[in-house]
């Protein structure tokens, strides 16, 4: 049995040339950088640091690509944590994706919607487009046998 609960996240998109993103140094504040496309990376961070990370990214990428775009897209994502020793097993009821290794992430079909899955110290973090949050939360509880818990 895994626990499922909302975990608010800050999400900042940085779109730039692939070469600039290759050279981009990750910002601080524990931001996790997800390279979602050759020309786009997404920083995932604790909500309290969203503005700091956005500013850092703007400064750093501007030096590499003057035409880059940095955008806070936190409102578009729900962080849904699957925690506990059975988190990986719970994911297998939602997705054919292989659970990511430490610090890694995978993206693809989770409960029949497009999502990203990150490894966290206490389990897995699903990043789900906000308009599907109720659906994925319900599937996690019903199909994965996860137990809903308030954050």
């Amino acid at each position: 049995m895994a626990d499922v609960h909302d975990r608010p996240v800050g999400a900042i998109v940085c779109a730039a040339s692939p070469e600039a993103l290759d050279r981009l140094v990750a910002p601080g504040h524990g931001a996790r950088m997800l390279r979602v496309a050759p020309d786009e990376t997404m920083a995932v961070v604790a909500p309290a640091f969203t503005d700091d990370v956005r500013r850092e990214l703007e400064d750093r990428i501007a030096a590499l690509d003057a035409d880059a775009l940095v955008l806070d897209v936190s409102d578009g994502w729900l962080g849904l944590a699957l925690t506990g020793p059975d988190a990986d097993h719970a994911l297998s009821y939602l997705s054919a994706l292989e659970p990511p290794v430490a610090d890694g992430y995978v993206q693809g079909d989770v409960a029949r919607v497009a999502a990203k899955v990150m490894r966290e110290p206490d389990g897995l973090l699903l990043l789900v487009p906000a308009y599907w949050s109720e659906h994925v939360r319900a599937r996690a509880i019903e199909d994965a046998g996860a137990k809903a818990r308030r954050p």
Partner: protein, 854 residues
């Protein structure tokens, strides 16, 4: 004592009973009737391989009684026969067999044509296996996904040896249909299974008991159906160790109740302690004969063991005598049970579903009749990458001049001979003509006989192979196959709970769940036309298009002059494909920093994104496209007091000059940062407030609270449908067809034809040279019209109503509809059922657009 009910009769259940063993102990001998001739069918394989014992359990048909555990309170019904299985009036068919040869209904009912539908109904009622219930309680089968190095299918000696060996250094899942060892009668085999199971578990293999592999697919991957889950396995290697069954013997009377395959008979006696008869003859050409005989004797049956070929079995309700050709000559035996051990038939359907080299066999399935030691060695070899090559069963199936080849479909040797003589001279064609191998057992018993028949008849090698094996091996329920796909995945806006709390009827609108109405559509319309109203339009596709080539992209793909849109202004646009057909529409707002904010229809967002990304790649442009649909909420504030309402909640300049139609501005409303776009879909002064989704609720609440001064109402899709129709605005997909170009829709004005190039331009130029044959027109009616109703001219259908409503603002019923040209002219007066439709210019309301400018 636990009990079940079979056709209403109470039957005691002993420990470990299957439905079949409980029924057989109680004297039941006929378990079903054959599909065509309605011959009696009794227990035969006893291992779940044939279809003789299919029963309906608690209302669900197609359960295999010989392997399904009996449970207290079960309601079991035999499925075939009328009025009952034991007394079946349709058994007369067996006597009429010569009038109904194989393929007869292809010929007999071909002429006259009207006869077939009648014959089909009769045939369908007389045949079949069980009746699906009209209503069943929804059962949700979970789907689980597993990635593993080695998947082993089969929990016998070979399978367990493979799992135990592979699991030492690889991840392994083993799936076995029954509990490990539960169906094994040989003590030595049971001990070996227990030893290997312990070894496999200790090595870390995951053993899934009660999981049936129903198919192997490319990848390789496999579907396992468990008691409460569907497991989809992706494996780097699949080892099939599904064993073998005794070969099906074909001779006259081979389908009589009382004729058994060896393992099934042994299980009945040794596991369930039920004698299969008082006098049994075991005809064995394998080394298992003595063991079978001993097993049967433990339950008290008098057994005669002989070697040879069965020439004939005779009997009425069940077998009562047989003739066997032994080395000493023909011998007749009186008996009430005949047990066959004629050779081994590999249970290889799964193995034959794929030619992928990563799928290999082990044990009996590739070495039929192998010993325990050989099975273990075969399993271990398969696990280490040195699997045995499949070896054909030896001997080939034994067939006499008659008898049933396919017991599922009632296909006899005589039928095969006749079909061959008619010219169906390959195993695949024989299958299609006779339907042999196409029954519930999927050819498990008879596919080798079919191939052998073709071979014996001299068919070329390509025409005498085994027929194709396809999933599913077992008959799963549709609900099980559906797995997790049991619902509509719906998108919800951040205001969903607010709508529900307000009593809205929530409708599915494409991929979204949206308010249809809050209860009073007429008042919702009046609010928008006369006061002020709000609508949740968070479903609109929204995109930020940035980067130094943003304008180049948009200029290339959209038929509007993007350069002419000044910062702060917005423009309606159509999205055309290369053929000039309308794919979508939306608004394009030019931002001060040179980027653009683009909206699409609610249902078109995903396609719009894919389409733009495709063109970015094809044109090799430096463009950043961010789909903001999930990130942004949007509320449309509409009505003559829309500007007044916003003014109470904002300190920004909202004047006509600062926020003109069609234009936009970044403003703050009730403390929420918004991109306000002056839009006109509903035909009133209106502002789409695009804002961070996380703040939708506070903005909505603030608008409703402040709007109380104007008796504000939210409106839903029902009201929107009327509001936009009054303006003559089209709903893409509802009012349009896939091959509509702008001129057909009356939207030629939205195309900047003077532009040098845009997607679809050349196609439009070609189509402009052709006369319009069909176009969308506005319609006024003299009575209430119906959407979808044909439009007729002099009795001939020349069009169809796509949208309609009785409109207060337009002073009567209005609509949109398709119209075809008649003799080069578009008619102006038509009939739509009982009402007259008159073609009318649009908009029906505020034709000069004064109101939407505020």
């Amino acid at each position: 004592m636990p009990s079940l009910r079979l056709d209403g009769r109470r039957l005691d259940c002993h420990d470990g009973d299957t439905i079949a063993s409980a029924a057989f102990r109680a004297g039941v001998r006929t378990f079903s009737r054959s599909i065509k001739a309605h011959r009696r069918r009794g227990l035969y394989c006893g291992t779940g391989d044939c279809a003789n014992c299919l029963v309906t359990v608690d209302g669900l048909p197609g359960e295999r009684a010989c392997v399904m555990p009996a449970r207290d309170g079960m309601r079991v019904e035999r499925e075939t026969g009328w009025p009952s299985v034991d007394r079946d009036a349709l058994a007369i068919n067996d006597r009429l067999h010569r009038f109904m040869p194989v393929g007869f209904y292809y010929k007999v009912f071909a002429r006259p044509r009207w006869l077939w539908p009648i014959a089909e109904r009769v045939i369908r009622r007389a045949t079949g296996t069980g009746t699906l219930p009209a209503v069943v309680a929804a059962r949700h089968t979970r789907t689980r996904f597993v990635r593993v190095h080695t998947l082993v299918i089969g929990g016998g000696v070979a399978g367990l040896a493979a799992a135990a060996t592979a699991a030492h250094d690889r991840s392994v899942v083993l799936a076995t249909e029954a509990a490990l060892g539960a169906e094994v009668t040989d003590p030595a085999a049971r001990d070996t299974i227990a030893r290997l199971a312990a070894e496999a578990r200790a090595a870390g293999a995951e053993l899934l008991e009660g999981h049936t592999a129903i198919g192997i697919y490319e990848g390789p991957s496999a579907a396992l159906l468990g008691p409460d889950e569907l497991v989809e396995v992706e494996a780097e290697r699949v080892i099939v160790a599904t064993g073998a069954i005794e070969a099906h013997g074909v001779f006259p009377g081979n389908d009589l109740p009382g004729v058994w395959l060896g393992r099934g008979a042994a299980r009945m006696a040794a596991i369930h302690n039920v004698p299969i008869g008082t006098r049994a003859v075991v005809v064995a050409n394998t080394g298992d004969g003595a063991e079978l005989a001993d097993a049967l004797r433990t339950a008290g049956t008098d057994v005669t063991l002989v070697a040879g070929r069965v020439l004939e079995a005779r009997g009425g309700r069940q077998v009562d005598s047989i003739t066997v050709l032994t080395p000493e000559g023909r011998r007749a035996f009186a008996c009430d049970a005949l047990v066959l051990s004629l050779g081994w038939a590999p249970r290889d359907t799964l193995l034959r579903m794929t030619a992928e080299p990563e799928v290999v066999g082990a044990g009996d399935v590739v070495r039929p009749g192998c010993t325990l030691a050989e099975a273990e060695a075969s399993g271990r070899a398969a696990a280490t990458g040195t699997a045995d090559e499949p070896r054909e069963a030896d001997p080939w199936p034994i067939t006499e001049h008659d008898g049933y080849v396919c017991v599922c479909e009632d296909v006899s040797m005589h039928d095969l001979e006749r079909a061959w003589d008619e010219g169906w001279t390959s195993s695949e064609i024989l299958k299609r003509y006779t339907t042999a191998t196409m029954g519930p057992c999927q050819g498990a018993l008879c596919s080798r006989h079919l191939a052998e028949h073709a071979r014996a008849k001299g068919a070329a090698p390509a025409a005498r192979g085994r027929t194709t094996a396809r999933p599913p091996v077992r008959g799963p329920r549709l609900g099980d196959l559906i797995g997790g796909v049991h619902e509509q995945v719906e998108r919800r806006t951040a205001l969903h709970e607010r709508h529900v709390a307000a009593g809205a009827r929530m409708d599915h609108s494409g991929v979204w769940l949206r308010p249809g109405t809050y209860g009073d559509v007429a008042d919702e319309i009046r609010a928008a036309r006369q006061r002020v109203s709000v609508m949740d339009v968070s479903t609109l596709g929204t995109f930020l298009v940035a980067g130094r080539d943003a304008r180049t992209l948009l200029d290339h793909v959209f038929p509007i002059d993007v350069g002419a849109i000044a910062a702060g202004r917005a423009r309606y646009l159509l999205a055309l494909d290369e053929a000039g057909y309308v794919m979508d529409d939306g608004l394009l707002a030019a931002l001060a920093d040179g980027s653009y904010f683009l909206t699409s229809t609610s249902g078109g967002a995903d396609r719009m994104e894919a389409w733009l990304r495709n063109w970015i790649d094809r044109l090799d442009l430096h463009v950043h496209l961010v789909n903001q649909t999930a990130q942004l909420g949007a509320i449309n504030v509409a009505g003559p007091h829309a500007r007044d309402l916003l003014a109470t909640l904002s300190d920004d300049d909202l004047s006509r000059e600062a926020l003109p139609y069609p234009g936009h501005a970044d403003i703050t409303v009730a403390g929420v940062p918004c991109r306000a776009i002056a839009a006109g879909f509903v035909g009133e002064l209106s502002f789409e407030l695009h804002h961070p989704r996380g703040r939708s609720v506070e903005l909505w609440d603030a608008l409703l609270a402040a709007g109380a001064a104007w008796d504000i109402r939210p409106h839903g899709l029902d009201a929107l449908d009327v509001l936009r129709l009054e303006k003559g605005h089209v709903y893409l997909a509802q009012d349009t067809m896939p091959d509509d170009h702008p001129a057909k829709l009356g939207l030629g004005w939205a195309v900047a034809s003077t532009k040098k190039e845009f997607i679809g331009k050349r196609a439009l130029e070609r189509m402009d040279a052709l006369p319009l044959e069909r176009r969308l027109v506005g319609l006024r009616f003299d009575g209430p019209p119906q959407r979808g109703h044909p439009l007729a001219l002099d009795g001939a259908i020349v069009g169809r109503i796509t949208s309609c409503a009785v409109s207060e603002a337009a002073n009567g019923p209005v609509g949109l509809g398709w119209l075809r040209a008649v003799g080069g002219e578009f008619p102006s007066v038509l009939r739509a059922g009982e009402v007259t439709a008159t073609v009318s210019p649009t908009p029906f309301y505020d034709p000069d657009g004064e109101r939407l400018r505020g």
